[in-house]
């Protein structure tokens, strides 16, 4: 049932052909790199280039730390979030990335100070939400004016072609509600 839903989400939606990469540069700047197919308009919209945008991310205040919010993300993600089933359109993605201060968090993010360095537990959790494939999942969260995370809003899953889809997250997990006692 779950696989069917994900299949429907991933293949019935608009494709705007961009790969999303979470990157740390040599100078230790944090970037979100968008690799676009030339004919698509996402990169054009965001940085006025056809094939690639490198969006420098601002400081994610307190993200290297074990505060309550970071613990919540890295230690109980599946217990706290689920996909709403809505996928963002190209215009919505451009709008979000242009208008917001945001942070991207990948499965191997240096912001994860909760797992051992060799562990890919968190990556597996994100991958399972993406449908279990080799999807290079990436979280997108918005930042407050002071640079601290306000909320985790979207999960980006990639298909086999490396094309990313931006999925909306719900602040409630998927649950099964049992019937009242007979």
């Amino acid at each position: 049932m779950k696989s069917i839903l994900l299949f429907l989400i991933l293949f019935s939606s608009q494709v705007f052909g961009a790969e999303f990469l979470d990157k740390w540069t040599e100078t230790l700047n944090h970037e979100l790199v968008l690799n676009c197919s030339e004919e698509e308009g996402l990169c054009q919209n965001i940085c006025n280039k056809a094939d690639q945008c490198k969006i420098k991310q601002t400081t994610c205040r307190d993200c290297i730390g074990t505060n309550l919010f970071m613990s919540h993300i890295f230690q109980s993600f599946l217990e706290s979030y689920s996909l709403t089933g809505r996928e963002l359109s190209e215009a919505e993605v451009s709008d979000y990335l242009i208008k917001n201060k945001f942070v991207s968090i990948s499965g191997s993010s240096p912001f994860n100070v909760f797992d051992d360095v060799g562990s890919n537990r968190f990556e597996r959790q994100l991958t399972s939400l993406c449908g279990g494939m080799d999807s290079f999942p990436l979280l997108l969260g918005s930042l407050k004016k002071n640079g601290a995370i306000r909320s985790i809003d979207f999960l980006i899953c990639h298909d086999e072609m490396g094309t990313g889809r931006v999925m909306e997250l719900s602040h409630l997990p998927d649950v099964i509600i049992g019937a009242a006692l007979h």
Binding site: E26, H30, T66, L68, A148
Partner: protein, 908 residues
């Protein structure tokens, strides 16, 4: 005025009494012109004086700003993060190690830079408390910032403007800054920063009160080998542990009067500037290069702690939950195994709160190595223990809070009140119709019993211990913000839901009782009660709580399950309701110590770790002047009685004593989203005793005493008491109404009056005094003096302090090869103790100006005295006048450094 003179007199008498045995000369040391210990330490020790205090003095000092602080840097998270990053960008282990060192360097160097700029009057002070209103913009920003958790963007903008205009005159355009907000530049303000390799006698003031000769000698030996115990903050070769480090930052601000007034503002400002500058200033970017951009993401306030090196404080202690919970980190800094830690109030299901420690223990130890420094082989080992305890405790509270908010949110979102009630109703009907015979029914009966017991205790209109907490919770902005960030839902919504659920459950319980489902035969299996209930009701703690979930899940489909992980959230209506209640209790419990454990305010924490009297004085549980006041009161009373009895001879007299007020509990109140405590005292303030000495009148050796205090013996100082018989009337029986240990009152307070008759074996004195009016005043005078002397012998409760300059102490040690007994007093008074004052003058001036230890001195009055130092074959020459060598103020220019040794004096 008279009172102040008397206090000064008493304190100096107290000093004198303790110093009778010491002689203030050094003639017991054989005449000696050369220095015994010529091999000196090559490391000049730039530390502040060590201030030794007794209990009362330490308590008093908590209201004064410190000039020396420890800085604990916890970089474990940074290390983990750098390691992940290094793998991402293809760097090796050196990248991580250098990153950790660069972080430590940035923290310590930036702290020093800010301290220096504040001390030089280049950066303005950002006042704390009422004085913040002098700066209207700043004051308004603080009010706005109080509404949110964590860093405040408005404050950041404000600091940025100040930082950009520092060293200039532009501050007045930003706010109403005047000279009041600046420290006056003193002649030689300085800062020194040391990495602590090992705790040593250089922290002897944290290990004991008055330092004896042995202690002084140990300190001197440590100065001699100071390189083994500490080194400069940027000596990273010595810092092998990459997880944490502990540093000592000393300030010397010579305008001490101004420091007393502005020291707390200084530390408050330093922490605010540091938080901002670490992330935003160019200076920090340069110090942190090439890691600067990455470091901006660190939760700095979670990574560093300042705590005073002594009894003085960094911030004026308040009787607030934030202040008390931060101070409770003291328990985590001590050496304790996990089992001992688990016993702490902060880990219990229904904690009493951080104020309970004050009620339980109003006279804790102080200055007796209460942080267990001596139990660890290195500074890193101590810091590691503290960091690990802190990490574990943080993890515990975070998990508890996060789980509680999440599960309460899920039950409310997906089940609401109605679905739970439907299930409860069906459960009840099933039990009644089935006859309650099956194994499944037995479990349901138990579960319903638990449900009703737990909700009645927690939420019933009359019985509730939680209801008052809920109203309290609603007013706190902190928890609301946490709840919103985790669930997008205000905590008030979750509280309202639980209240609604409780009303429904309690009504349901009434109907269950009417249905007699727990009529005989029914035995409660107490193991299944919620852990918080078992703790609250003090049910046998040896039996581990047993969650019925596993038993229930065999019989039915759970009401709520997580889809992905198949985690059962709750099974039946009763189970879901109980889980909701437990979650609310967990939220309430987590909040008790949350400010201490988590970084909610966005401020660097500065707990009073070494001084447990900081909060006791702030909460009025200990008065440093209490003993002094009561001694004056006693003394004056006896003087008064002496005066009265000289004119009105009577066998009846009154003895009045000021009682020590004891805090028995605290009222809580919320102000601007913060919780403050107001102490409630036992009612006794004055103990009055009426004494009628019938001996001389009735020819019976009986003296009748009427008092509120069963221990009252007003004449006990003078009499050898005989046999006493006593009867007391009590106001009421011992019916104690208490919600917890904090509310239990001392039984003594119920005593209204005691009558005792002492068959005095030495009644003669009193008898004689009655018949001779000249003797009776003498009797009271003598009683007053004996009482005074006896009180002054109290080693703890009269403020006493001693100050030792480690370098002056070290010069005495080098001079004599040991610390002569006759030097102890002088050294404890922060003075040098050499053979001659002239020599003292030369050595002190030379050493303090050139930061080099003298190895020998040859005094040539009226000529050029010779000063020898290690590493230099020629002497430094000092121009000393023939007369007044001891009193002439020497200057740096009076010393001639030989050209062959100038390199030793060049700044590195």
């Amino acid at each position: 005025m008279f009172r102040e003179i008397l206090i000064t007199l008493l304190v100096s008498m107290a000093f004198s009494l303790n110093a009778f045995s010491e002689v203030d000369d050094i003639d017991d040391v054989e005449d000696q012109n050369y220095w015994r210990l010529t091999e000196t330490s090559n490391h000049w020790l730039d530390l502040n004086r060590l201030r030794f205090t007794n209990r009362a003095s330490c308590a008093k000092d908590s209201r004064r700003p410190t000039e020396s602080t420890f800085i604990l840097v916890d970089n474990l998270n940074l290390g983990r993060s750098l390691l992940r990053l290094s793998k991402r960008i293809g760097k090796n282990g050196e990248f991580t190690k250098n990153g950790v060192y660069r972080f430590r360097y940035t923290v310590t160097a930036l702290t020093k830079l800010i301290a220096q700029e504040l001390m030089h009057g280049e950066l303005p002070l950002l006042p704390t408390g009422p004085e913040s209103t002098f700066l209207p913009t700043y004051s308004n920003i603080l009010k706005e910032c109080a509404k949110e958790v964590g860093h405040c963007a408005q404050l950041d903008d404000y600091i940025r403007k100040i930082w950009e205009t520092r060293k200039g005159q532009g501050h007045s355009n930003i706010d109403n800054f005047t000279g009041v907000q600046f420290l006056t530049k003193s002649p030689e303000p300085r800062t020194s920063c040391h990495y602590l390799k090992q705790f040593s006698p250089l922290e002897a003031h944290l290990y004991g009160t008055k330092p004896d000769v042995d202690t002084l000698e140990e300190i001197a030996k440590t100065v001699h080998k100071n390189g083994d115990y500490l080194t400069s903050c940027d000596d990273f070769n010595s810092q092998t542990d990459l997880k944490q480090a502990i540093y000592q930052l000393d300030l010397r601000f010579l305008n001490s009067e101004e420091w007393e007034k502005k020291g707390f503002h200084f530390w408050h400002s330093l922490k605010i500037y540091l938080s901002w500058a670490f992330r935003e200033s160019d200076e920090a970017m340069q110090m942190a290069y090439p890691y600067g951009e990455f470091f901006k993401n660190i939760d700095l306030e979670e990574s560093i702690y300042f705590f005073s090196n002594g009894c003085h404080s960094l911030e004026l202690p308040e009787c607030s939950r934030e202040s008390l919970s931060i101070n409770s980190l003291r328990f985590l800094a001590q050496s304790a195994d996990r089992k001992e830690l688990a016993q702490l109030d902060m880990f219990s299901y229904t904690p009493q709160g951080p104020s309970s420690d004050i009620v339980r223990n109003d006279r804790p130890d102080v200055n007796l190595d209460i942080l267990d420094f001596a139990e660890f082989e290195s500074g890193d080992a101590w810091a590691s223990n503290f960091r690990e305890n802190l990490e574990r405790s943080r993890g515990f509270v975070k998990l508890k809070l996060s789980k509680a908010i999440t599960s309460l949110n899920l039950v409310q979102e997906f089940l609401g009140v109605q679905k739970i009630l439907n299930d409860l109703e069906k459960q009840k009907n099933r039990l009644i119709s089935n006859g309650m015979n099956s194994e499944e029914d037995a479990i349901y009966r138990q579960e319903l019993y638990y449900l009703c017991s737990e909700f009645r205790v927690a939420m019933d209109e009359k019985l509730s211990f939680l209801r008052k907490d809920l109203e309290f919770l609603r007013q706190q902005t902190t928890i609301n913000s946490i709840s919103t960030s985790l669930t997008n839902k205000d905590l008030n919504q979750l509280i309202s839901y639980t209240s609604e659920l409780s009303n429904a459950v309690i009504n349901h319980c009434d109907s269950l009782e009417k249905s007699k489902i727990w009529s005989e035969p029914f035995i409660v299996d107490k193991k299944g009660l919620a852990p918080w209930y078992q703790e609250f009701a003090r049910i046998n703690q040896n039996v581990a709580p047993h969650d019925l979930s596993n038993d229930l899940v065999k019989h039915r489909v759970p009401l709520l399950t997580l889809k992905d992980k198949k985690n059962v959230i709750c099974i039946s209506g009763a189970h879901c309701a109980r889980k909701s209640l437990s979650a609310l209790i967990d939220i309430s419990a987590s909040l008790q110590y949350i400010e201490g454990l988590l970084n909610l305010s966005g401020k660097i924490k500065s707990p009073d770790l070494v001084n447990p009297y900081a909060e006791r004085v702030a909460c009025r549980a200990y008065d440093p002047w209490g003993k002094t006041k009561s001694t004056i009161f006693d003394f004056l009373q006896n003087i008064g009685m002496a005066a009265v009895s000289a004119y009105v001879p009577t066998p009846i007299y009154v003895d009045v004593k000021l009682a020590n007020r004891k805090v028995i509990s605290f009222n809580q109140m919320v102000k601007d989203g913060n919780v403050y405590f107001d102490p409630k005292f036992d009612k006794r303030k004055i103990q009055a005793t009426l004494v009628a000495d019938f001996g001389p009148l009735l020819s019976t050796p009986c003296m009748v005493t009427v008092s509120g205090d069963p221990n009252a013996r007003p004449t006990g100082y003078l009499y050898l008491d005989g046999i006493t018989t006593q009867a007391c009337h009590q106001r009421e029986n011992n019916n104690v109404n208490a919600y917890g240990p904090a509310d239990v009152q001392s039984n003594d307070s119920n005593v209204t009056a005691c009558v005792s008759c002492t068959i005095s074996l030495v009644n003669i004195a009193s008898t004689a005094s009655t018949y001779n009016p000249a003797i009776r005043p003498l009797f009271f005078l003598l009683k007053g003096v004996v009482g005074l002397v006896s009180n002054l012998k109290d080693p703890h409760n009269f403020p006493r302090s001693w100050e030792v300059d480690p370098n002056r102490l070290y010069s005495s040690y080098r001079k004599f090869g040991f610390i002569p007994k006759s030097c102890a007093r002088r050294i404890r008074d922060d003075k040098s103790c050499l053979k001659a004052y002239c020599e003292t003058n030369i050595v002190e001036t030379f050493e303090s100006n050139f930061k080099k230890y003298v190895s020998d001195v040859t005094i040539i009055k009226g000529g050029k005295s010779k000063i020898w130092i290690n590493g230099c074959d020629e002497p430094v020459l000092a121009n000393i006048p023939y007369f007044g060598c001891a009193t002439t103020k020497l200057q740096k220019k009076d010393f001639e450094i030989p050209s062959s040794c100038k390199h030793l004096f060049e700044a590195k």
